[in-house]
Amino acid sequence: MIKEVFKRLVGERVGRIEQEWTFDAKAGIMNAPIVASLKRGGDDKYIFVPTKDGILYALRPSGDVLWSFNSQESKDKVSDVEMMFKEDEIAWNVTSPAVDDLNDDGESEVVFGSESGLLFAVKSNASLLWRFKAGDAIRAQPVICDINGDGKQEIVFGAVDGMVYVLNNKGKLLWSLDAGSPIECKAAFEPKTGQLVVGTDSGRLISISPRGKLLWQFDTGDKITAEPVFVDLKSKGEQNILFGSFDNTLYALDVRGNPVWAYKSEGKICSAACTADVNHDSKPEVFFGSCDNNVYALNSEGSKIWSFETDFWVASSPIVLDIDRDGRLEVVAGSFDHFLYILEAEGAFMLDYMPGVSGVVQQSGSYGNVMTSEPGGFHGKKIWQLKTEGIIVGLTRLTGSKEQVLICTANGRISSVVHTN
């Protein structure tokens, strides 16, 4: 007790991170779960979990199953011969869903793709609304948005056949665009301009107009699976596009496709960056994971603030939240090393030397550079870490009476983690 009071006095974090519940999907999971309401604008929150065996689960915030939808029941829509060409283990894998009210009935629909090439729209009671068959596997989460400003929702998704598809809310094709390379990346939509951007396996980020016209393209050195993110990096009302590539680089572009900055890590960047203004300078900081085992924090100019090294790849997106609700933000990242890390979002300043002492003592006669340089720098600082039951493939935030972090491991477990005092 005295220790905790002291910790509070010196600004140290108190309490611990605990697992609340675990859900076992009994099948592998490749894509992160998402949290959404089953009513338009509703406060009810459900967790949607896609699995490798083709089942999409809707869970209550307590981890109980609300319903499940088995996409394999649509086997008759795909020929046996076609399925023989699929990798058996993932032949029915389903994507993370997009959840929104498609048909203006106040209830949300759940739209997700499948390795079989089928896109499913499922009602809030788990009954099938419609299906659409793409030319090949769908590996990227679809997006529900009003792309053409007609007041109705459309569904946008890319597929491994290299096409970007736009469907109306009844599942009919409005237009498609050949991107020339398989797409495994979720598209990003900018509602003000109607601009769509999506990455391809050939490493190209393409921008598409609301009518399906190619606007511009930007080439990186390798595959793009990380969802691009629209963000106003300079807080001047101008959007930038932030995305990572398998060429190890996180890129910031303007909306015309011109490079603003690039930050090169030492490993592939597989998932989206997230942004938040953690140091209250009115500019967002950028956080992302890399297969060089690090979680990175960059400033809005693309310079590193800190990095934190885990023991294996960080292939999922970090999330920024105030998990202990003490008014300070934390960065939560999951690693293939089986651990969940909760880090100080601002990092921790550490002195590299003692100004005026170390410089004189250690570098007598040539201390000019040292004396004029920064006396230290920010480093990633771990607050808590938690061992999970497998390699972490996705994290999701569930906000309610308390902040929950949902950890998704490749072996099919979803665990809810909370902060307790």
């Binding site: 046996d80 011969v81 076609e82 023989m84 060409f85 058996d88 030319g135 056949d161 398989p182």
Partner: protein
């Protein structure tokens, strides 16, 4: 497959090669559930040696799957008939149409005793040519699915893939060592004894297309055509066999009266 440690060498079960004079040199045969490369140049009887093993095991009640990637099933069977294999003695099932796959496998399942299943991928390719298959479709997946589904549905003890070289052509390997590692691990997990036919150059400079196959497999049986004074003889040697005390000498390989024989002294004296 659950990997287990053995407590004695007698715990290792073996599959005979049915080559007289060779099995004795390798403790009775190749270890069960191992992967063996049968490599050689064209005409060295790789397919026949592989077929011979599977044929005799099927006669003993086992189930064998022979995946032919290039040679048609009727060409293969005509060749084997010409070599005096009595095909009427075995339950022979030919799959040359993927849409009949499940039905044929059920036939194997319901039949008693052994079965020799030949999957003619060449014929399937010809049939599929007219059907629109998605761009990401991979023939390697077809091969893997055929093996896995047969194993699950009706059991499979012996697998022969003829040939690895043809599989490479069908599946565009970008990182061969990594991809081969995963293929071999897939085969190991299925708990069956695999013979992979590999075409090699006549000079025998390597055992597989990518030069890494011999490191990844458990055993290598090498077949050679050797020309001496305008006379060509076939030779066989066991280059490597894990968990086996093997004689790595080169033997002459002869086929007479429907039987393979490995003979010492087939090579003339050096001087």
């Amino acid at each position: 497959m659950e990997e287990k440690l053995i407590s004695s060498k007698n715990d290792i079960k073996r599959i005979r090669t049915y080559i007289e004079g060779l099995d004795e040199q390798i403790q009775g045969g190749v270890p069960e559930n191992s992967i063996t490369l049968i490599c050689g140049s064209s005409g060295s009887m790789k397919s026949s040696v592989s077929f011979n093993i599977a044929y005799h095991e099927v006669l003993k009640g086992k189930k064998a799957l022979y995946i032919s990637l290039e040679q048609s099933w009727y060409s293969l069977l005509n060749h084997m008939t010409n070599l005096d294999f009595n095909l009427s003695k075995i339950n022979l099932v030919v799959i040359s149409d993927l849409s009949e796959f499940n039905q044929k496998i059920q036939k194997v399942k319901s039949g008693k005793g052994g079965a020799f299943v030949i999957t003619d991928i060449g014929a399937i390719r010809k049939e599929i040519k007219a059907v629109k298959i998605s761009p990401s479709s991979d023939w390697l997946n077809v091969v893997k699915n055929v093996v896995k589904k047969m194993k699950q549905a009706s059991g499979c003890d012996i697998l022969i893939i003829d040939s690895l070289s043809a599989l490479y052509v069908l599946s565009n390997f970008t990182h061969p060592r990594t991809e081969l590692f995963y293929i071999f691990e897939f085969l190991r997990d299925l708990d069956l004894t695999c013979f992979l036919v590999s075409e090699t150059p006549r000079d025998g400079s390597r055992y597989g297309e990518f030069g890494v196959e011999d490191f990844l497999v458990d055993g290598v049986i090498r077949l050679q055509l050797v020309e001496r004074q305008r006379k060509v003889t076939r030779e066989i040697s066991v280059v490597k066999m894990r968990a086996t005390a093997c004689n790595v000498d080169v033997f002459s390989l002869e086929f007479e009266n429907g039987k393979f024989k490995a003979l010492y002294g087939g090579q003339p004296a050096l001087i």
